[in-house]
């Protein structure tokens, strides 16, 4: 084994297993994550859409849900305001 790191064979094994994961599962995992994200973003649009200038009166529950949404707000805003088209979703 090389000093302070993995041996050559171990590195090859890791690289191969990662490549097989990439071939077999990465696209699938990404698609599932995206599906979950779109559902969450739709919910955020309905509840805190006023943050993007959509004229809706925030319901009482928005305040109670806000702490759960805070981690996603930045990426949600970025994604909602970003230029997107079909070529963005072509890969699944």
């Amino acid at each position: 084994m090389s000093k302070g790191g993995k041996g050559f064979l171990s590195k090859i094994k890791d690289a191969l297993s990662e490549a097989v994961y990439g071939i077999a599962l990465h696209g699938q995992v990404s698609a599932i994550k995206r599906m979950k994200m779109y559902t969450e973003y739709l919910f955020m649009l309905m509840t805190v859409g006023d943050m993007l200038g959509i004229p809706l009166v925030p319901p009482y529950y928005t305040l109670r849900l806000l702490p759960y949404m805070v981690p996603n707000i930045k990426s949600w805003k970025l994604r909602m305001l970003r230029e997107r088209d079909v070529t963005d979703i072509i890969t699944g």
Binding site: E18, A31, K33, E83, D85, T87, I90
Partner: protein
């Protein structure tokens, strides 16, 4: 003698590809793009854990390879070897990939990385305007229809030609659903579910291979007396309806429930099959599998008479569109700028991911040439047409010499492999068509239950009544033109950044000129047949069954198709060239 086996030629290809990767790509990466591992990538800048997050280069390499490699690098070389000989096919695969293929995949990825991980559409919009983007999407619609029709024909001719293949295919499709159910509903571990899926898939393959009585339905079971798979036959129509049902389900059911698990299940045996055939080709000098005497190094290239040679054309430009994937493919630019560019951990990973995956696809193309070299042509070239079964037959001959399980068994295995690769790719295409239709089509044609029907109807019409080799040339034309446009887009981007553009500008210009010429030639083939009241040789069964009028309508449809593609391509090329010279002018003034 080594020279009469495919081994040396494939080895030569591997050496040139190694030089491309180790030297040329490194030169471009360091000197033109000046990739910097310390510069934050979109994955780090816009980290959201969903779409933007850093992923290991090995995972992304696997994902990129899976997304770009399908039937393309198998079917293209098969047709090219038949009409032009194995030497031109081999040279284009090697030289094309060296100077153009990996260049496009890698450069499109780097352009996206430097543009916040944006995809092709938004980059086109940013650099060239909204009209250029609409043209790009319209082009995509035609591309998806043509490729769907060609793949449908290839799938059907193999299912029909090798009885029993459809049964393991059905097993794989059902196993895909079961796998999805096990993982997402029953919450089973992926490893257990994979093992169950693999047992089911291989049980399906082995049982049908072993039990001859299960090899049903027989060839042309609805058209007794017919030899080979022919257009306008009832058997082909039957299989088109079956495929239509599968495609419709794939387009309208949730992806995670069926389509994606099926892709996963199907790719496992496919990767094994591909790896074995490459090894078998390299070891053919030991196993003694020789180049078949009917496969000449050079068959011909002066097919200037469209009536005499309707299913091919002059070496330039037609060879360069006949072999698309493996040498260069426009589809890859969409993949490179899709998910991969958003998940690169370091800029320096673009070379192994984008360039490496394309070079690997080139190796698949080389293996396909090797498989075709060793099998006798069903009908002598160039007058006879190639048949999709040539690849499974050649792969079986190569592999059986290495692992002698019986040529018939290997033929069955490779027929399944080709069919499932075509099927799952088409299932993904119909979904993409659905998304493009949602953006471009008016109501109610943009509805997700309606647009897949349009796609299925169009591809069925073309596959049933058309000529698949001619459709393939249209596909090659659209695909390669997309590549040329992507390369020019990169040139526009580099010009806007005041960087050297020669390494993308000249390949891009070559591809645009070549592919526009190829589309024009193919349009001329259809138009000349139409005007002279003749039909293409593969359309003879359609004339016998339905009369010449229907063939004329099909040819008119195809000629109009070609004209639209040519005009769209020309307008897009105009936008790109004018954009390029505008930015070059700006940089020279400053």
């Amino acid at each position: 003698m080594v020279l009469d086996t495919p081994a040396l030629y494939i080895l030569l290809g591997l050496i040139v590809y190694s030089i491309a990767y180790l030297y040329y790509s490194k030169y471009v990466d360091r000197n033109i793009w000046q990739s910097d591992p310390t510069r934050p990538t979109p994955a780090k800048l816009y980290f959201d854990g969903v779409e933007y997050f850093p992923v290991s280069k090995y995972v992304l390499y696997g994902y990129q390879f899976k997304s770009v490699a399908a039937l393309g690098p198998i079917v293209g070389p098969m047709i090219a070897v038949h009409f032009y000989g194995w030497l031109p096919a081999l040279l284009w695969l090697i030289i094309g990939n060296f100077f153009i293929g990996w260049v496009q995949d890698y450069s499109a990825m780097m352009m996206s990385v430097r543009r916040e991980g944006r995809s092709m559409g938004p980059i086109v919009y940013e650099l060239l305007g909204g009209r250029a983007r609409v043209i790009l999407l319209t082009y995509l619609v035609f591309y998806l229809i043509i490729i769907g029709a060609v793949f449908a024909w290839v799938i059907i001719s193999i299912i029909n030609g090798v009885p029993g293949v459809f049964i393991p295919i059905i097993v794989i499709l059902i196993t895909g659903y079961i796998f999805g159910h096990m993982v997402f509903r029953l919450k089973m571990s992926v490893v257990t579910a994979t093992l169950v899926a693999l047992i089911l898939v291989f049980a399906g393959i082995i049982i049908v291979t072993a039990v001859q009585s299960l090899r049903i339905p027989p060839t042309n079971f609805l058209d007794p007396g017919l030899i080979g798979t022919q257009p306008a036959s009832w058997t082909v129509l039957f299989w088109l309806i079956v495929l239509g049902v599968i495609y419709y389900l794939a387009a309208t059911t949730p992806m995670i429930r069926w389509l994606l698990p099926t892709v996963y299940v199907a790719y496992l045996p496919a990767i094994i099959a591909l790896a074995i055939v490459i090894i078998a080709a390299l070891l053919s000098f030991i196993t003694g599998v020789k180049i078949d005497p009917t496969r000449q190094a050079f068959v011909g290239g002066a097919y200037f008479d469209p009536i005499k040679y309707p299913t091919t054309g002059p070496l330039w430009p037609m060879l360069f569109v006949t072999i698309a994937c493996g040498a260069i493919s426009g589809w890859h630019s969409l993949i490179s700028t899709g998910l991969s560019s958003k998940q690169l951990e370091f800029e320096t990973d673009a070379r192994p991911v984008g360039g490496g995956a394309m070079i690997t696809e080139g190796i698949v193309g080389l293996s396909s040439v090797a498989a075709i070299m060793v099998v006798a042509a069903a009908a002598p070239p160039p007058a006879g047409a190639p048949v999709p079964l040539d690849y499974p037959r050649g792969a079986a001959a190569l592999v059986n010499a290495l692992i002698p399980l019986g040529v018939d068994n290997w033929l069955f295995f490779y027929a399944i492999f080709v069919t499932i690769m075509g099927l799952i790719t088409s299932m993904l295409f119909v979904r993409v068509f659905r998304m493009v239709a949602a953006e471009l089509f008016p109501t109610p044609f943009n509805h997700y239950l309606v647009s897949p029907l349009i796609w299925i109807a169009l591809i069925s019409f073309l596959a049933w009544l058309g000529s698949w080799t001619n459709l393939w040339l249209y596909f090659g034309g659209t695909n390669q033109l997309l590549a040329g446009l992507a390369l020019m887009l990169v040139a526009v981007f580099l010009a806007s950044q005041k960087r050297p553009t020669w390494y993308v500008f000249w390949p891009g210009a070559f591809m645009i000129v070549t592919t526009l010429s190829a589309i024009l030639w193919e349009t001329y083939v259809y138009a000349s047949h139409l005007m002279q009241g003749k039909y293409l040789a593969p359309q003879a069964p359609v004339v016998d069954k339905f009369g010449a009028t229907l063939v004329n309508i099909t040819n008119l449809f195809s000629a109009v198709f070609g004209i639209i593609l040519f005009i769209l391509g020309l307008v897009m090329a105009y936008y790109l060239f004018s954009g390029y010279f505008k930015y070059r002018g700006q940089s020279s003034q400053s």
